[in-house]
């Protein structure tokens, strides 16, 4: 046997499946490794992703939603979109599949130390930012960071992911949590409006701060001018890209943005880095 084959997935079992949103388009999967040594080898940080490997269907790169501070199981929230993810949505607790990773670079957690952190999340791009928040709020890490502001927008209350955890943060953490939905809804007493509008309203200071921005292209497009107006510099803004991928380790050639591979050199890039690159994402 050849050692360290980067293409060979770790076998995992689906421990729990949860329908995550009211439109049933997203499910959250909790995966447990079949072998403890694999769980030990899978050392990751928030912002990294993995290839979910479903034998017979292939692989899909999905951001890791759990934090390494939560134990050995992994959490992935997956949108039902293509062949593989549709099949994944039909799989049940106890089924065996594979996970390959961790892949890519994490958010710059070290660089963020000693600074205030602004997180802007839209839709199901919130997954790796969930990981980041759990990690930042862990007692081992919390003292290393300044104020934490978390803005998360979803279309409707029923489309908000990780509700229990968000409530926990609102009541038991010192982070400023801002939840918003697109339009008024019965029983909703939090923000109403798109993420850029909320960012404008709460006026986060760029002073000694870094911003992690992750959401659909339209959110990015309208958030940028707001951040520019508030004086955020491009090296303070961190983004996470998606591109079609296969190998996940910078060889197969399809996910590149200029000379950089999203899978290996990303998916996390600063806006300053992206400004120097073609918009091939």
């Amino acid at each position: 046997m050849r050692n360290n084959n980067p293409y060979l997935p770790y076998p995992v079992r689906i421990k729990r499946v949860e329908i995550a949103t009211e439109d049933r388009s997203l499910r959250t999967f909790e995966l447990e490794f079949l072998h403890q040594e694999d769980a030990d080898a899978f050392r990751y940080l928030p912002g990294q992703f993995a290839e979910l490997s479903v034998p017979g269907y292939g692989e899909a790169p999905i951001g890791i939603a759990s934090s390494p501070t939560e134990g050995d199981t992994l959490l992935f929230t997956v949108s039902k979109a293509g062949l593989l993810t549709s099949h994944l949505h039909s799989m049940s607790e106890g089924d065996v599949m594979g996970v390959r990773g961790p892949l890519g670079k994490s958010y710059p957690l070290q660089e963020m130390e000693g600074k205030n952190v602004l997180i802007l999340a839209g839709g199901y791009a919130v997954t790796t930012l969930r990981s980041t928040m759990v990690w930042l709020l862990h007692p081992d890490n919390r003292p290393k960071y300044g104020d934490i502001t978390f803005v998360y927008g979803a279309r409707t209350p029923g489309m908000i992911l990780y509700k229990e955890l968000l409530e926990e943060w609102e009541t038991n953490s010192d982070a400023n949590i801002h939840l918003t939905i697109d339009n008024e809804a019965p029983g909703w007493d939090k923000h109403v409006g798109f993420v850029p509008q909320i960012a404008e309203k709460i006026e986060p200071s760029p002073q000694n701060a870094m911003a992690l921005v992750c959401g659909p292209p339209v959110m990015i497009k309208f958030t940028q001018p707001v951040l520019d107006k508030q004086g955020w510099q491009s090296d303070q803004i961190i983004m996470s890209l998606e591109n079609r991928m296969k190998c996940g380790i910078g060889i197969c050639g399809r996910c590149n943005v200029g000379p950089h591979y999203v899978c290996k050199d990303g998916p996390v890039f600063s806006k300053a880095e992206l400004d120097e690159l073609p918009k091939e994402y």
């Binding site: 034998p55 591109n243 690159l277």
Partner: protein
Amino acid sequence: MQDKILDKSELDAFLERLGKEHDVHAPVQNGGSVEWAAVDSSRDLVWDFTNTGVSPKRYIFPQTECMMRFRNRSDDPEGMVMKEEPGLTRKRALLNIRPCDVKAFRVLDSVYCQDEKTNDVYWRDKREKTLYLGLACKSPCPTCFCTSVRCGPHHEEGLDVLLVDLGEQLLLRPVSDKGQELVSHLSDAPQEAVQQAAKQKEDAEAAIQSRVDLENIMARSVLELYEAPMWDREHESCLNCGVCTYVCPTCHCFDIQDETQGEHGRRVRNWDTCMSWLFTYHTSGHNPRGSKKDRYRQRFMHKFKYMPQKFDVIGCVGCGRCTSRCPVNIDVTEVVRGMNEQE
């Protein structure tokens, strides 16, 4: 290391010796063209050819390669778990491989084996189990430009032995320890033979008329080159057929697919091409390289800007196959000249 000499009449004995541990493959006449095939006799070998139509990259990077297998039964406790496919069981020798095609393997080593995490076991297995016996070029094709891209007709990089065809005899120049071991039993080459080989090298290098300069490409920024107006018209004749990527010794992009038949399942990788819209197509319907221009530009930017910037290697060895095979006569040297000269 001492150059050796071998009479062509003794080639069969040499092949037999080589064949004890290796499957020997070489360019052979195949209808109208010369292509790679297994050989067991010196009669199969050809000496007067420019280069094979398709590059020998498939020996290290097969067009379709099984990476792992699984039992396609979810009710089986052993099912749905990927098992790695074993590597090559027997060593291989690539005889009469052109120096540019070996250089291409060296270029791709920097992609396939970047670091601890990006270390392609399938690539490495075959690379390590292959012996490279290169044949120096006597008469380069008009489309060759190897001397412009850190290569040449007698380039020794990556070889175990360099063979120089002297007519009735072959000069064998051991380059690696493995090569030295292979030819150590042969007689030392006489001085005249060594001189003859040196003269051949000089002549072959002089025969390469096509030259390109990459200096400005290296100096310009990615965005400057990417946004150059030349791409607006350059791509128009391209059909995105992908033949350039098929024959290219350094095109290395691949797809990974699962195949199942009853209880049997396997995961394979296949050659892919950046000329296809599907290559980058997102499930959402968005395509970051959605236009022909995007794809055309990608192939040249990848080889002549991205790879030099990232790995300090040029992603081209100047074999000229893409130019000679292109159905609409796109000449890689003209594109590179455009990239180097544009304002």
